[in-house]
Amino acid sequence: MAGIESKCTEPEIDYNVLNSIIVDRYNQNRENLIMMMQAIQKQYRYLPITALRYLSDKVQVPLIKIFEIATFYASFSLKPKGKNIINICTGTACHLKGTGKMVEHITSKVGIKSGETTPDMLLTMDNVNCVGACAVAPVIVFNEKYYPEADLSVINTLLDQAKSE
């Protein structure tokens, strides 16, 4: 039990890194809030609450407004993401070529739905509404690498890869 929990606890926040994002790169300008949050998410693979509190203070925007943004936009996550991220494109062209079945397949095989992470924190499944690569549909993006014209066997290989790491 301790093993799983320890992997989920909040990472240590490096305030120098936060300052370099909020102050140096984006000038504490609240209009850049979304891009600051993207940079923070890139750093920690999700939006840790401590970092958001600090951000709120630095840009003088109430925490509730930051939470509003974090829950409105699909790319933000308030929960830690897994070590590997599999994105199934559910745009129209990919949907017509069967990505819905791929999502079901992953759910039945590793027990996570879209947006969820396996308890061992190794894999997160996120679905994306079109990556604009419709010509090579169905497309899967695994750790930012594109897999064109994918099928169930590609998914099985990727799932094994995620597990072995």
Binding site: N29, R30, E31, N32, L33, I34, M35, M37, Q38, K65, E68, I69, F72, Y73, A74, S75, F76, T90, G91, T92, A93, H95, L96, G98, K101, V128, N129, C130, V131, G132, A133, C134, A135, V136, A137, V139, E144, Y146, Y147, P148, L152
Partner: protein, 630 residues
């Protein structure tokens, strides 16, 4: 990537352009490097080709050419370009100046291309394009997919290196800006755009010139905004423009800034387009370094600074007022339209927002005149339109045609029709705000007005072809589900109406449809259309309404007979192997993940219904159409 970086470094020494004349002189000096007759190997490195190892092919070509012995002859240089548009054939390699076209090039083909074609002048058969009748095409401009298009907006894409501003300048980019800055008044620019009668390419179709005029007449700081939040699933026109010819868009925005009297511009790009973000960032840096953007552009005293802003994954941010709110760092919720954004938009200041493709059309309108532009297309819809043709069609890719061309010509002549001898069923245009158009309307000319008449919209230009194996009820369910997830939730008709519609559609696709369901769907749909706040809400019911209008009998088959004729809604069909058609090739048996198919080689196979999970692998892969849907 190596060569992309080199192109960037070579621009460090480019001069600062201090007058419109200096731009012309600089362009002339580039001819020896970028002229049409310079031997060049072009490789498409767009988002469509990259997953198929295009970048590796480019690197191998560059390495191979550097090592090969050309015995004093000119060594062609390698150029990685943006998306050619013929994405289903990628990675694409073109040899200039001959115009030789190679498709589906793999890294292992590179030595052969260098030895045989580049050095020996010999064609490689297995890399050449063949159409359905096995006719071989050697040159790009002969291939029907390209030959039947009129590429104006896309003309540089696939020809220039998007990371190299010199390449763009050599083709004439920034020439229209020079003309607008040196010899036109803001009023004359707006007049030219009004004469062209170009309508906004983002979907709503509002005349661009009129928008510019009303924004220019406002008092205060004005902003120029480019909507590059291409959220429609199945559409990738803007992505290809941003990735393939970013300077054209920047030029269009700068001309708009001059006309409207603005010195500040923003481009709002989707987070899902990482390559577009890279090309734009570099394009802005290069243009500023050369004095083509930023302060005192071309020494004329005109200032215009452009910044890039990233979305965070919200379909509704493609709506203009939501986009502006997102630009301000807030959540993107649309505003009521009685406050027009040309009066009070971004930062409550007058803001002119246009789509990527609209800005990309502007330079040509300024250079060749509004009258020239008006001569293309139809009376009400002028110019050309770029479509992204996808789905069940042979030639998937980008298609640019004059307005008024019949749908049939786009899908069958350019697109090559539906593969695997299946029947055409419908074409979906306009993304989640659009509708499905059935076969009997294929001869309508494509324009803002005609698509509206058949219950769909032009939208931003997504065009998804559907064959007989696509269930229209399920398509309606898919789009409604998409919109339920993406609705911003502030107004009740869209938020609640869509959820109720999805529930009904879920029920129908599970075989629990009721007789009154289509009428109820229409009633809710009309309510959503009439009472939602923003453009996305008022069009959100289109996928459902258009499928009921054109495919009502399919809804009725689902409801009354509990059957899905297309074989998509799992509880409503079963599969069987037709003994007469089955030749016993064994492919289905091999493909079946649950071993539900048995049979000996060369004898008709049998499918056990109890074991079948309806994954459709057998149906999809049977070359003899022997697996039938019951």
């Amino acid at each position: 990537m190596q060569q992309l970086k080199q192109a960037a470094e070579s621009n460090v020494n480019t001069p600062r352009i201090t007058s419109p004349k200096a731009l012309e002189d600089y362009r002339a000096s580039l001819a020896s490097k970028y002229g049409h007759d310079v031997p060049t190997v072009i490789i498409c490195c767009g988002t469509g080709c990259r997953p198929s190892n295009a970048v590796e092919v480019a690197e191998l070509l560059e390495k191979g050419l550097a090592e090969a012995d050309f015995q004093g002859k000119i060594v062609p240089h390698v150029k990685a370009t943006g998306c050619h548009g013929f994405c289903s054939r990628g990675p694409i390699v073109e040899l200039e100046p001959q115009g030789i076209f190679y498709q589906k090039v793999k890294p292992k083909d590179v030595p052969e291309i260098i030895e045989k074609t580049i050095k020996g002048g010999e064609l490689i058969k297995h890399l050449q394009y063949k159409d359905a009748s096995k006719k071989v095409f050697t040159h790009t401009n002969e291939i029907p997919f390209y030959a039947k298009q009129s590429r104006l907006v896309l003309k540089n894409i696939g020809k220039i290196n998007p990371f190299d501003i010199d390449d763009a300048i050599a083709t004439g980019t920034y020439g229209a800006l020079a003309k607008a800055l040196s010899s036109m008044t803001p009023g004359q620019i707006i007049e030219e755009v009004k004469t062209s009668f170009i309508k906004g390419r983002g979907g709503a179709g509002f005349p661009t010139g009129i928008k510019w005029e009303s924004c220019a007449s406002q008092i205060g700081n004005r902003y120029i905004i480019c909507n590059a939040d291409e959220g429609d699933p199945g559409a990738f026109m803007d992505r290809s423009l941003l990735e393939g010819d970013p300077h054209r868009i920047l030029e269009g925005m700068a001309i708009a800034a001059k006309a409207i009297g603005s010195n500040r511009g923003y481009i709002y790009v989707r987070l899902e387009y990482p390559l577009a973000i890279q090309t734009l960032t570099q394009a802005i840096q290069q243009a500023e370094a050369m004095g083509l953007l930023g302060d005192n552009i071309m020494g004329t005293g005109f200032n215009f600074k452009v910044s890039l802003s990233m979305g965070a994954g919200a379909f509704v941010c493609g709506e203009s007022s939501a986009l502006m709110s997102s630009l301000e760092g807030k959540v993107g919720r649309p505003r009521p339209k009685y406050i027009r954004s040309v009066e009070k938009g971004f930062r409550d200041s007058p803001s002119n927002l246009n789509n990527v493709e609209t800005y990309a059309n502007i330079p040509d309108i300024i250079l060749k005149g509004g009258e020239w532009y008006k001569s293309i297309g139809t009376k009400e819809s002028t110019g050309t339109k770029v479509f992204s043709l996808t789905g069940n069609v042979h030639n998937i890719g980008l298609v640019e045609v004059p307005m008024g061309v019949p749908l049939r010509e786009i899908i069958f002549d350019i697109g090559g029709g539906v593969p695997k001898k299946r029947a055409f069923k419908a074409v979906q245009t306009g993304g989640p705000s659009g509708g499905c158009i059935p076969a009997q309307h294929l001869d309508i000319p494509v324009s803002f007005e005609s698509l509206d008449q058949v219950g769909s919209i032009m939208g931003s230009g997504g065009m998804i072809v559907m064959d007989e194996n696509i269930c229209m009820v399920e398509v309606a369910r898919y789009f409604t589900h998409f919109l339920v997830e993406e609705s911003c939730g502030q107004c009740t008709p869209c938020r609640e109406g869509l959820i109720r519609m999805e529930e009904i559609l879920e029920r129908i696709t599970h075989g629990e449809g009721r007789e009154e369901d289509p009428d109820t769907l229409e009633e809710i749909g009309k309510f959503v259309t009439n009472f939602s706040l923003c453009g996305l809400g008022t069009s959100a019911a289109n996928p459902v309404l258009s499928t009921i209008r054109h495919f009502r009998e399919e809804y009725e088959t689902h409801i009354r007979h509990k059957k899905c004729p297309a074989g998509v809604c799992k509880p409503l069909y079963s599969l069987k192997i037709d003994e007469e058609k089955c030749v016993g090739c064994g492919i289905c048996k091999k493909r079946c993940p649950v071993n539900a198919i048995t049979g000996d080689k060369k004898k008709p196979h049998v499918l056990e219904i109890e074991k079948c999970i309806k994954c459709m692998e057998c149906h999809k892969n049977c070359d003899f159409a022997a697996v039938i849907v019951l």
